[in-house]
């Protein structure tokens, strides 16, 4: 359980270049949720997630992890970082070891675990992101872009976090790589039940997976609700430069024309079923 209490962050506080990146953010992140954090470039998403594991210190406000203030004196930040795993944008840029397996071991090794536990965790994490044994002893730099990224995610997973935060995990990947990564994450979530926060600027991308969407606009929280309720505001979303998934538009347009469809449908399949159903009722 992670609680953010009136968080404000100002970069270069007290200088001429001071700029507010977070403005009075309050959030509760209960265990086991799959959350999408959405906002435009520069809306403060990345700054926000860097507060969650204590990398940045808020200018004012508090963060509580499992009941303890993470900026209290003597609070074990390393422990926090193992429990709140943060995968940065382009995480493959942080790979450095001679082979994939050793690189994934880096995180658990820093936690001071014994060798068997480290290797077990690394193995499990690599399996969780779908990397086959044959790649384990290759240099991480020889892998494809999508594979590198999955190895980097495994590097964080190996610390066994309770909360996994992924900052734009699909940036720069082709559609196939994107679907693979998101599919793996959804699978991981289903298998382990950890909390996942997916940061993205695309509604469409997260719509399929998450159960809660937090929309950030101009360093504040604009919406915090279930996807269906957030997408119902699609006109207002456009005003802040975002858009609902294409299916939402179609369904709302159909409804406006008098067809009793379910506007919550997000995928082609559910939309088709809903349209067919509505047509059947309309013309028995």
């Amino acid at each position: 359980m992670l609680i953010l209490d009136h968080l404000t962050h100002i970069y270069d506080h007290g200088t001429a270049m001071a700029s507010t990146a977070l403005d009075d953010i309050s959030l509760v992140i209960p265990p086991g949720q799959f959350i999408g954090l959405i906002g435009h470039t520069g809306s403060g998403k990345s700054t926000l997630v860097q507060h969650l594991n204590g990398l940045l210190k808020p200018t004012s406000g508090n963060i509580y992890f499992n009941g303890a203030d993470i900026h209290d004196d003597g609070y074990d930040k390393k422990h926090l970082r193992s429990k709140v795993g943060l995968v940065f944008q382009y995480p493959e840029h942080q790979l450095f070891e001679i082979d994939v397996f050793t690189d994934v071991c880096f995180g658990p090794k820093n936690l001071g675990l014994d060798k068997r536990e480290i290797e077990l965790r690394a193995y499990t994490a690599l399996k969780q992101v779908g990397i086959d044994d044959e790649y384990f002893y290759q240099s991480p730099f020889e892998l494809s872009g999508g594979q590198k990224r999955r190895v980097a995610i495994a590097g964080v997973l190996a610390m066994k976090p309770e909360i996994l935060i992924l900052d734009e995990p699909t940036a720069g990947l082709d559609p196939r790589g994107r679907d693979e990564i998101l599919g793996q994450i959804a699978l991981l979530k289903a298998e382990t039940g950890i909390t996942v926060i997916l940061v993205s600027h695309s509604m469409e991308e997260v719509a399929k997976y998450v159960e809660r969407i937090i929309v950030m606009n101009k360093n504040k929280i604009a919406y915090d609700d279930s996807p269906a309720k957030v997408f119902a505001e699609y006109k207002k979303l456009e005003e802040i430069g975002l858009s609902a998934p294409p299916m939402t538009y179609i369904m709302y347009a159909l409804k406006e024309k008098g067809l009793a469809v379910d506007t919550k449908a997000l995928t082609v399949e559910t939309a088709r079923d809903s349209i067919l159903m509505a047509l059947k009722i309309g013309n028995p």
């Binding site: 001429a16 880096f106 995180g107 820093n110 610390m159």
Partner: protein, 268 residues
């Protein structure tokens, strides 16, 4: 985390110093540094200090920024002070146990630190008020005569400007990689020297890789736009001296004459 290094960073604001021709600022900085090494007594240092404060005031860059740049050389300063204080022979001022501090040592330590501090501050005024592009434009123009003796001025300057341009990028990159590794439990702060050096590997390897990647991309982008060095290249905004630049040169000359003369006339 590493925002403290100001050398090579530009501070955006509008001031008379910002608007000066980069050649003026380059020449003035060089002469200011020369003046620091020509003067011997404190009269000269006081005058140089006044001149520096005047220039900083004119530049509208907060004084804090200049001081922040100092953190980078604090160890160098400490070394210089300690060595000069204890190892200069001469008339003893304080003496306890086996250590003697001489008047000459105090004087030397003081002059050295003043010189170093003013040197860094003086060059900071230049780099903080001049965009790297402008700076290298100025250098190119100033070094043009070297072209006659087959020095590839344009290429050298281009390399410098790219290097300068990469400083903030690499800082950002370092910050990012550092954070990413800290998120994986890395510890850059505690431990002895060997442990600290070892802990830099997860930072340096990705940093080098990213620097090479960026260099590669840049080279490709330049070639794609048919870049072929300095021959027959023209500038969109050629540098032209204005009245204020002439006055600045004059001001600098007056400063030099006054400082050096005063330093020789009134020894302190």
């Amino acid at each position: 985390m590493i925002k403290d290094i100001t050398l090579g960073q530009y501070y955006q604001t509008d001031s008379i110093i910002h608007r000066l021709d980069p050649r003026v600022k380059l020449v003035a900085t060089v002469f200011f540094i020369i003046s620091l090494f020509v003067v011997r007594g404190f009269t000269g240092f006081i005058l140089a200090g006044l001149f520096l404060v005047f220039a900083i005031k004119l530049s509208k860059v907060p004084f804090k920024f200049m001081v922040r740049g100092m953190k980078a050389i604090i160890f160098l300063l400490l070394f210089a002070v300690v060595f000069n204080l204890f190892l200069t022979p001469g008339e003893p001022a304080v003496s306890f146990w086996k250590i003697t501090i001489t008047w000459e040592g105090i004087r030397l330590a003081l002059t050295l630190t003043t010189r170093l501090i003013m040197l860094i501050m003086g060059s900071s005024v230049m780099t903080l008020t001049t965009t790297p592009n402008n700076l290298t434009d100025g250098m190119e123009k100033l070094m043009k005569p070297l072209g006659y003796i087959k020095v590839p001025v344009h290429e050298v300057v281009m390399m410098m400007s790219i290097a300068l341009r990469f400083i903030p990028i690499l800082f950002k990159e370092t910050d990012k990689i550092m954070k990413a590794q800290i998120a994986r439990g890395a510890d850059f702060e505690s431990g002895n020297l060997i442990k600290k050096a070892k802990s830099l590997v997860p930072l340096l390897v990705p940093l080098f890789i990213s620097a090479f990647r960026r260099a590669n991309d840049l080279a490709m982008a330049m070639e794609a736009r048919c870049y072929r060095g300095g021959d027959h290249r023209t500038k969109m905004k050629p540098l032209v001296y204005k009245t204020r630049d002439r006055f600045a040169y004059l001001g600098m000359l007056i400063y030099l004459i006054i400082t050096i003369f005063a330093d020789r006339m009134i020894p302190l």
